[in-house]
Amino acid sequence: MTEVGREPSRKYGLAEEIYERYLDQQNPNYEICLGYGDSLSRCGRVREAIDVYAQCFRLGSVPLESLKHLASALLDSVRSAAGPRRRSEASFVCPACEGTLFQPVTAACGHTYCRTCFEPNKGCKVCGQKLGAIGETNVLVQRLVEKWWPREAEASRARHEGDKLIKEGQVAQALEHYDLAVQLAPDSPLHLSNRAHALHLLNRPQASLTDADHAVRLRPDWGKGHYRRGVALSCLGRYEEAFSALCTCVTIDGNPQPVRQELTRLLHRMLAPSLRRQNVISSRAPYHLGQDISARSQRNKRHQMLLPLMSPIQNHQREEALNTSDCEDNSSGEEEITQSICRRLLFASDSPDNGKLHAILDRVYQEVRKLKIDTRPAEILLPPLTAAGSGGGEFDCILCCRVLWKPVTTPCGHTYCWMCLDRCLDYSSACPLCITSLADYLASSQKTVTDFVERALKIVTPCEYAARATNDRAELVKGLGSGLGSEEIAVFICTTAFPCVACPLFVYEPRYRLMVRRCLESGIGQFGIAACLNRDETGTKKYAEYGTMLEIRDRVLLKDGCSILSTTGGRRFRVLGGDEKDGYDTAQVEFLRDSFVQPDQLSGLLELHDKVRSKGRRWWSTVAPSQQDEIQRVFGRMPETEDDWPRLPDGPSWTWWLLAILPLGPQLQAGILGTTSLEKRLRAIEKTLDHMEQWQLTDAAQPSGEAETPASICRDEDAVMDEVSVVQDS
């Protein structure tokens, strides 16, 4: 209760103080009293407000509208007096109407609604996410609903048709549909409640009450039934019971909105002097809340007597807390006096009827506190637990022919395994079953598991579903080189990459989209890359014997499903054997590292290293600044020499950086990648640099020097090739 509008209550607290001062000085006046009552209501001081409003009724006619603050405050206080609500999810109903799904439509968040209950601009009742555009009927859910709950499904159809007629104002026709619904599914409180509503509209309150009573008897823990009961009782002039029923509704639903108006009207009638004289029929609820069923009414009476005795202090405190706002400062003695004076002034003739309302309120608070609230939807539907349910293959994904795993439903209403749909969308943006374009769906990347189907799977085929979860993990990592000692890796056949050097990739081929997704989803985050050497006549591609692992740093997923990867080279490998998996290549590999540098070779190597590095720097300085910028944007700056480079598995990283930017052919690059001798690699780089220098000189000597063309680079390559073949032979 203290949470209820703490902020506004501060303001109204002040207003209420002003009213009190005013009332202290003057005689009670209708306007002032009304204002005072409003302020008290807004502060949450329900009981005092009731007294003040009662006084207002004595002073003049109070418009209905004026009691809305009192109704709100009352509902808030009742709601907060109740214990915590637990929402139980163990049903397969529409989250909006809480009944059997009729023409089920799955929202972007994965929750399924009846088509007529689906409001695109509203938030999901389960998860709060905006429902978004309405799609086609979820074919699988519809099939399951009709198979598992045929009568309820038929009843739901009748109910929805009735609802539609009510909206159109054809209440009598609607009643016929509700009659049918009640007949088909007599245990559903929902149809009874709707029929009660129709009867109420037809001005048949007694019949309406009978249905509402029945609904509440069927499901005492369903709030709407109490609401219908409250409305009917109110029409019948049984205000005390109506009041109790409406409060019970709010306690269960936790949502005072729909009840507020009805309660305002009810309070108005109860406080109006002419009606307060009416003899109120003693309340006896037709239902039992809580676990005790036998002799409840008797116990109820005892309870009421015992409660104050059992815990008078606690009870008192609770009541206090309910009726006074903690925002105001009651400590000042002066104010207490003011209040008492004010009260004396106002309620000099405190009527016994006022007391009656207080007594009702007392009882309501007591009842509310006793409620054990486990909010469940109106209809409790569970799939059959028979093993036969799984045998028919009704849960099989049409694409992989296995039990659905992480089922997702497309806007066109078809359900597939998450991974299967992903794979289809790699190849085509059309739905495999109906060819509807899923391009927008793909672009919005709104895929979520269809809650209904997943929960059904867990109940109907628990073992298969659990097995799928385990297998899925195994399948995902299979052939990606994750396992200990497993040297099978996925290979992206494209180009040569080098250790420590960045390698940006644009992934558009379906098979590589799958491969990259698996690498990321499995958490392995790396794959091999090797240069494509040639493609023979049969279309079989051959790729280089040596390649590099690439670690995925970042991935930008484009709307069409392609992606841009930022990767960095890792370990080098040699391919021992190849295979294929779902369209992409896998390879058995051994990882390479440079051979250890012997102590007696170290000084020579140091010298060579420094020489080649300075040559490299010199050559780099001759590169045109615009080209330098371009290169640095992709590969970064030339790395500094690592302190421990002779011990590194791939030697100093600057060598790889240089190899990545030197104009070498794929064969040559792969060859150099395969050397495990740092010395030979340095010599190959030196040779290349020498050739480059020589070529630059001859190029400069020729004034008519042709522009740098791929052909001119190839000329150089031949020369370096000799060197590398020497390197590899040795």
Binding site: C400, C401, R402, P432, L433, E580, K581, G583
Partner: protein, 165 residues
Amino acid sequence: MCWDALDLWRQGLIMADLPRRIIKETQRLMQEPVPGISAVPDDANARYFHVIVTGPEDSPFEGGLFKLELFLPEDYPMSAPKVRFITKIYHPNIDRLGRICLDILKDKWSPALQIRTVLLSIQALLSAPNPDDPLANDVAELWKINEGEAIRNAKEWTRRYAMDN
């Protein structure tokens, strides 16, 4: 015959690392064969099927038994099966090499289609040649200019290549 083949297939190939989808489709092809179509997986390669399609009634191919080969690529069912006529056939949408011009084998392929549906489509193609979307240009040309002669040719080829062998 079907059951024998299925048993053979079960013993020899179920152990292979085949996707469930292919296992299921093969089982169903064996247990509930499509009338007029037989498809048996190869002993050594479960992705390769030996197919026989009987020429549809009231078509120039009636009475013929046409051999085809069908192969499920590594990324099946994301990619269409590769199907080819082995038996020579005079048909505007099938060329000398037995390659078939059928949209569902190319851009209209959907992973929801199956071996079964592909073979049914091929059978339907025999019933309804489409010379407006030709693969064998000479055949299609004749089919358009002189359908009678084309049909006579087709019958002749059927008798010569698709019967008694």
